[in-house]
């Protein structure tokens, strides 16, 4: 951890900062912030960097365990349908479909320990709903 003063938004401010696992953590104005180091040096920000954010890829929003899968391969799902349940830190989280779609592939099984961002279900978005 390092502590220093730098000019931010035209004012000298005290900052504490540390790099942990390719991420920069810093405290400024009593608040802690963090940012990926990898895309820090790119000139313009790419908001959709995470491949997981598209509606057809259901990825793990956190590390944890898959405890229930509600759908089968080939099944069609409505927007809002529960797809699977994950458990982390003793709480259950239900992942739902964002759009009308068909289940193309199940990439996880009940009992699997999965990592953050891991693909769990690949959906095929129905034609009429596709952008």
């Amino acid at each position: 951890m390092a502590k220093f003063q730098i000019e931010i938004d035209g004012q000298d401010r005290e900052v504490q900062a540390e790099i942990i696992d390719k991420r920069i953590w810093f405290k400024l104005n009593d608040q802690v912030y963090s940012h990926d180091l990898v895309d820090l040096n790119e000139s313009h920000s790419k908001n959709s960097k995470s491949a997981g954010k598209s509606a057809d890829r259901i990825v793990a929003p956190m590390p944890g365990k898959v405890t229930k899968i509600f759908v089968n391969q080939g099944q069609s799902v409505q927007k809002g349908d529960a797809l699977l349940v994950m458990e982390a830190m003793k709480m259950e989280y239900t992942l739902k479909a964002d759009t009308l779609a068909q289940v193309e592939k199940l990439s996880a099984q009940v009992g699997d320990q999965v990592t953050l961002g891991q693909l769990l279900i690949q959906l095929k978005i129905a034609k009429s709903e596709a952008p």
């Binding site: 951890m1 504490q16 920069i24 180091l37 956190m62 349940v85 830190m89 259950e92």
Partner: protein, 500 residues
């Protein structure tokens, strides 16, 4: 009863540290019964001895009765402290400890069975004419019956794990169409967290406050209460902020509820620390449940009462603690506890895991920190997200709120996201400050977590400036060969003094 010489701790995290401290002050050795990942924890570093009980999953470690008992015996312990959660309210565990010659630091197995089992507790309260919430706690656990009972009680209805606590295996049914899914989900969570899928149903009170009384039965069986706490600030039925005493009780109400709490505990022949929970709505109070263990929020009671509940527990277990009948007990000032969770408040409380960097809890008058992890430890997804508790005391409630906000702003955790910004906004909310908040407070005002997040672009810009300075410091240090003037990593003094 013989003097306890070595206590095995069947728990982890901050409560394990809390128990170690109490034991140390009483001259008792400790044995930490731990899972594989918890070698990276403060309790592991502080305990006199450590014994591995199994791998990370709780079913194979912290919930495995045989493994805990075997390890306690192998380490030469003569008593077991179960902390809270895990096996703390498991009557079989208490019984097996006693059978193996280990003093169970808590109530008797019988008291856990009669009061801790919510079904038998309700029968006992009913018989004694104590006020209960309408509900269903039958043995018929078929889906059909449960849904029928939901309709009979009238929506909204809450489903709870019969063996539960801490919000796990609890679901709220608002529409009958959701009943099936929610009941099944509650049963699964109950099975995974407590080893039993049994649930019961209860009418959900919409504007209730959560009030609880700390009770304590001394070694003669004399039960007194150590006043009340309010824990209305809950999310998904998990407490976030607790305080003592409640800002909502008149003296008359406090006296009545305190008497009910002592009555039910006395009926259950209760010894040691426990908590009687109530819901309070429109001046009416209803008995909710008895938690037959030390509570996460016990420090706020300790702060206003000037007691050490864990030491009282240990002394009671060795038959040495008796209440002085002439002593007048009064609660003084106001105490607040905030639970620091490893989660992202800007993503609806999504769990956050990872390697901890700097963790600082700056001291100050009547600020108290209970924490189980330090720099270099890893927060995993296997266990509860609570990484620390911050407790303050001050003369009045408004002052305690101000002190808590300042304390949280001074605290720093790098490496995982925490709910600290969320806690600060809750404390600063007008309804919390007024003391009028109900158990629906979070749902009403903070359902989606925090929204007014600093934009990603802004954070990125700051991060770039900060990173540039970090690199400049690094190169200038390596160029001159001097150790980093203000970087703590190379200095042994930084870590030596941390947490003092």
């Amino acid at each position: 009863m013989k003097q306890i010489k070595r206590v095995a701790i069947a728990n982890r995290g901050e409560v394990a540290v809390r128990i170690i401290r109490a034991c140390e002050e009483l001259g008792i050795e400790t044995v930490l019964l731990h899972s594989d990942p918890d070698v990276n924890s403060r309790a592991y570093r502080l305990a006199t001895k450590k014994m591995r009980i199994g791998p990370a999953p709780t079913a194979q470690s912290y919930l495995n009765i045989q493994a805990n008992i075997d390890a306690a015996l192998a380490a030469g312990a003569d008593a077991v402290h179960p902390g809270f959660g895990f096996l703390s309210e498991n009557a079989d565990f208490a019984e097996r400890c006693e059978k193996n010659g280990l003093v169970f630091i808590g109530p008797s197995a019988n008291a856990i069975r009669t009061l801790g089992d919510k079904v038998s507790f309700k029968r006992m309260a009913q018989k004694a004419g104590l006020p209960l919430i309408p509900g269903y706690e039958g043995v018929d656990q078929s889906l059909g019956t449960l849904i029928e009972e939901v309709e009979k009680i009238g929506l909204p209805v809450i489903v709870k794990a019969a063996a539960g606590g801490g919000g796990r295996g609890m679901k709220l049914i608002r529409q009958i169409s959701e009943a099936k899914d929610l009941i099944e989900s509650a049963q699964r969570e109950a099975l995974s967290a407590f080893g039993s899928s049994q649930v019961f149903l209860e009418k959900y009170l919409e504007r209730a406050k959560h009030i609880e009384f700390q009770i304590f039965g001394d070694c003669t069986g004399h039960v007194v209460h150590l006043f009340d706490r309010e824990c209305s600030v809950q999310r998904r039925h998990q407490k976030i902020i607790e305080e003592a005493t409640s800002p909502s009780l008149s003296e008359a109400l406090r006296r009545q509820m305190g008497e009910v709490a002592c009555t039910i505990a006395t009926l259950g022949k209760y010894k040691n620390a426990g908590t009687v929970e109530f819901l309070l709505q429109d001046g009416q109070y209803y008995l909710l449940e008895v938690n037959t263990r030390l509570q996460v929020e016990h420090p706020v009671t300790e702060e206003v009462m000037g007691v050490d509940l864990v030491k009282m527990q240990i002394l009671t277990a060795q038959n040495q603690f008796i209440f002085n009948s002439k002593e007048i007990r009064v609660a003084r000032g106001h105490s607040i506890e905030c639970r620091v969770y490893a989660e992202n408040p800007y993503q609806g409380g999504m769990p956050s895991t990872g390697l901890l960097g700097q963790v600082t809890w700056p001291e100050g008058p009547r600020r108290r920190y209970e924490y189980g992890f330090e720099e270099g430890d890893v927060i995993t997804s296997y266990y509860d997200p609570m990484i620390a508790k911050v407790i303050v005391w001050d003369e009045t409630r408004p002052r305690a709120i101000e002190k808590m906000i300042r304390t949280l702003k001074d605290s720093t955790v790098f490496g995982v996201n925490t709910n600290i910004p969320y806690l600060i906004q809750i404390l600063d909310h007008e309804e919390f400050r007024s003391g009028r908040m109900t158990t629906r407070f979070i749902e009403t005002y903070f359902a989606e977590g925090l929204k007014n997040k600093t934009s990603d672009d802004q954070i990125k810009k700051w991060a770039q400036s900060v990173n540039k300075e970090l690199r400049r410091l690094k190169t200038s240090n390596s160029a001159t060969g001097a150790p980093g003037a203000e970087t703590s990593h190379p200095s042994p003094w930084g870590s030596f003094w941390r947490g003092v």
